[in-house]
């Protein structure tokens, strides 16, 4: 059934985030954060208060029980306001993973994550893509972890971290309490967010932290896919804000005695931006509607390829359309561009996703 309807629930999500965020975005503070002067985060506590951390949590566990396409639309809006916080990690690497394995067994943890009583971070997408897994050594039912976990966001505010370990040639999902994990290296992202590399050195864990008993490969691939899709949705929201900012500028800025938005060369660039955003958006939303389809990984790879190619391009076009003002730090357009670039750098490059679409020798 071909249907592009935005449901009432989705309208409610959009409206709710617009009402709560449209006036809160503080470009000055975001700029200062990007320079490393302040710690500034907004979005996470607000959506937590609104109950959205439980949006994919089943109704039996007091969540909203919504679908991934709803989450995708949420992420678009989240991205459009440059919100920041471990939402994707919590929902995908946490709640989704736990619900997929055994909702009943993990009901307490799922509930805690849904109300932000516990917060999960992860670097699963990067581990999966780079195939750099934590080695698990089993010594008489005592389990030791060894290896690096790179580029972990939101480590400070998290209580736990989800990681991929390798035991007897099988991938295992582990939810590890943060305590006693030492930071190996600290970095800053392009927009000033703290990122850490972690090192596990004979880190002893209890067996029950390995949350699944069998091979987690399929589940990990699904987490990778959903994380990627969520970041693509976030980038769509960022891109929509870029377009909105650009249109606002072009309809107010005068040159040669008229608004610069009247010039056809400029209008065509705007049309191209609009076309790009909309085609990528529909690709992502369609993938989000098909998470149980056997073609899901292919749909995700196509979404990622298009997001990376098109959305990166539109931000540069927007800088050109803004002229010198878009080149300044204070105007803040760079924050949107950098967010798109950060998302582009995560979750696998063109070559990785092309191979998922067209495996060699097949």
């Amino acid at each position: 059934m071909i249907d592009f309807t935005i449901t009432e629930t989705q309208k409610m999500i959009i409206e709710s985030l617009e009402n709560n965020f449209s006036k809160k975005i503080d470009m000055r503070l975001l700029n200062e954060k990007a320079e490393g002067f302040v710690e500034y985060k907004y979005g996470y506590n607000e959506v937590s208060k609104l109950g959205f951390l439980g949006m994919i949590t089943s109704e039996e566990l007091d969540g909203f029980g919504l679908d991934f396409v709803d989450f995708s639309i949420f992420m678009e809006k989240w991205g459009s306001f440059l919100c920041n916080g471990p939402v994707v990690n919590n929902l995908v690497s946490g709640i989704f993973a736990l619900q997929s394995i055994d909702e009943k067994r993990f009901s307490k943890l799922i509930k805690d994550l849904s109300i932000s009583k516990r917060i999960i971070t992860s670097s699963i997408a990067q581990q999966y893509e780079s195939k750099e897994f934590i080695q698990i050594i089993n010594k008489d039912e005592s389990f030791f972890l060894n290896g690096f976990i790179n580029n972990v966001e939101f480590f400070d505010e998290s209580t736990d971290i989800t990681i991929i370990g390798m035991l007897d040639n099988q991938l295992k999902l582990i939810i590890l309490p943060k305590k006693n994990i030492s930071i190996y290296e600290e970095k800053k992202s392009l927009i000033g967010d703290k990122i850490v590399d972690l090192k596990l050195n004979d880190h002893l864990i209890k067996k029950d932290l390995i949350i699944d008993l069998g091979n987690s490969e399929k589940l990990i691939e699904q987490i990778f896919n959903l994380t990627n899709l969520a970041l693509c949705s976030e980038s769509i929201g960022v891109s929509q804000s870029i377009l909105d900012k650009t249109l606002e500028y072009l309809t107010n800025r005068d040159a040669f005695g008229k608004k610069i938005g009247t010039f056809q060369s400029i209008q065509h660039k705007c049309a191209e931006i609009y076309i790009c955003i909309n085609e990528v958006r529909e690709l992502i939303r369609n993938a989000s509607k098909n998470i149980n389809n056997k073609e899901f990984s292919r749909l995700v790879s196509m979404s990622k390829i298009k997001s990376d190619l098109e959305l990166g391009k539109i931000s540069w076009i927007s800088h050109q359309l803004h002229g010198a003002i878009g080149f300044t730090w204070d105007y803040g357009l760079h924050l949107y561009t950098k967010k798109i670039l950060i998302n582009k750098s995560l979750g696998g490059d063109l070559s990785f996703h092309s191979t998922r679409l067209y495996p060699d020798g097949n």
């Binding site: 059934m1 071909i2 072009l250 705007c270 196509m302 390829i305 298009k306 070559s351 067209y358 020798g361």
Partner: protein, 384 residues
């Protein structure tokens, strides 16, 4: 996206095409050739027997009142198979326009004719001095109140299939001193009427799929005016929106891409990173363009308003189709430029012929530049 019922329909449709299309059919339909035209009529006739020509139309006009997804499948599959017999002017342009604006007389007569596979329509919009600037047309229609007839004089050009058509919908200036969008009427013509002369124009690919149509004192009853006399502009624009979804380009592009992927696997090209990457990009482009095409058609089903989505989908579908053919050409190289008559490579031959033909995609039905104007001004609200 499609229901199991839709997919069964697609399977049946493919079986019907299999029965009538020669094995290993590699040609884009060229109705200039008698053999292709006969095949077109035959397939159209078979579709008509099953009421499949316009499955979403009301039963009283020969449809099945099916969900519009069947129409999408029909157009896309016919394009993918490169099968003749898909009457886009009748089914996708004037048909929906008559359903929306036509009189009962017009609906009964013309829609039933279309669904019976008995008519071929062509579009009389462009003129030698009016292409993208459609509102500047000068073909005159003189209305005579006593006889309730209109006498048409002028020349239309780039008229695809005029040489095979028995019907034309034509935009004419019926108010003598009117300017631009005012005083225009959309009229339905019988191509066998006296005074109509069709002159073929050979296109870039060596085919004569389009024509010049000269109209000299052609008389037509005012019963054949769609909507009100002198008020045809908005109807003519709405009709263009039916034209612009770009669904055919999706089918043609997908066929070329599928064949190209096969070619790359068979010739071990897939192991080359630049080939694999480009194929993945093109597949992603195609999937997103397809979704936008479906969305444009879906929106058209939901609302009577004129939207910009058909402009978006037309730009995407035509450009994606061209990009796919360009890459195929790059890989096939001299196979596509030095056509070997002894060891014919039908895929290479098709790629170059179609690539040349598809130059028209970004021009007909409103150029890509016009579509971008529409998106920027009507859609994004940028000032004129």
């Amino acid at each position: 996206m499609f229901s199991s019922e839709d997919l069964s329909f697609k399977k049946e449709l493919n079986s019907l095409i299999d029965k009538h299309l020669p094995e290993d059919w590699q040609e884009y339909p060229d109705e200039r050739l008698d053999s292709h035209w006969e095949l077109s009529k035959k397939i159209k006739n078979e579709l008509a027997k099953k009421n499949w020509i316009a499955p979403s139309w009301p039963k009283e006009y020969g449809g099945l009142e099916e969900d519009f997804s069947k129409s999408i499948i029909l157009s896309e599959t016919m394009a993918y198979r490169m099968a003749p017999g898909n009457d886009r002017f009748g089914v996708r342009m004037i048909g929906p326009t008559l359903l929306k604006y036509g009189t009962e007389f017009q609906k009964k007569k013309f829609l039933n004719e279309i669904t019976a596979g008995k008519s071929q329509w062509c579009q009389g919009y462009s003129e030698p001095n009016s292409g993208s600037d459609l509102a500047s047309i000068s073909t005159k229609g003189e209305y005579d109140e006593d006889s309730n007839t209109i006498t048409i004089n002028g020349t239309k050009v780039w008229t695809t299939l005029a040489h095979r058509s028995n019907r034309m919908f034509i935009l004419v200036r019926t108010q003598p001193d009117s300017n631009r969008h005012k005083g225009l009427s959309l009229i339905l013509l019988d191509m066998n009427d006296p005074g109509i002369k069709v002159n073929p124009i050979k296109n870039i690919s060596g085919k004569s799929s389009f024509n010049e149509v000269v109209l000299k004192n052609v008389k037509v009853s005012a019963e054949n005016v769609v909507g009100k006399l002198h008020e045809g502009w908005m109807i003519a624009l709405d009709l263009l929106n039916f034209e612009r979804s770009g669904i055919d380009y999706i089918g043609w592009g997908e066929r070329c891409l599928d064949d190209l992927v096969d070619y790359c696997y068979k010739n071990d090209l897939i192991k080359e990173n630049h080939v694999k990457n480009k194929l993945a990009i093109l597949r992603s482009d195609l999937e997103s363009a397809k979704l936008m095409t479906y969305k444009a058609l879906w929106i058209k089903e939901q609302s009577d308003e004129i939207h910009m989505e058909p402009s978006v989908s037309k730009v995407l579908a035509t450009e994606t189709n061209i990009n796919i053919h360009d890459f195929a050409f790059d890989l096939l190289n001299t196979k596509a430029t030095f056509l070997n008559t002894k060891n014919k490579d039908s895929f290479a031959e098709r790629v170059i012929k179609n690539r040349l033909f598809f130059v028209s995609g970004g021009i007909l039905g409103g150029t890509t530049e016009i579509q971008k104007n529409i998106i920027a001004q009507r859609g994004l609200g940028l000032p004129r």
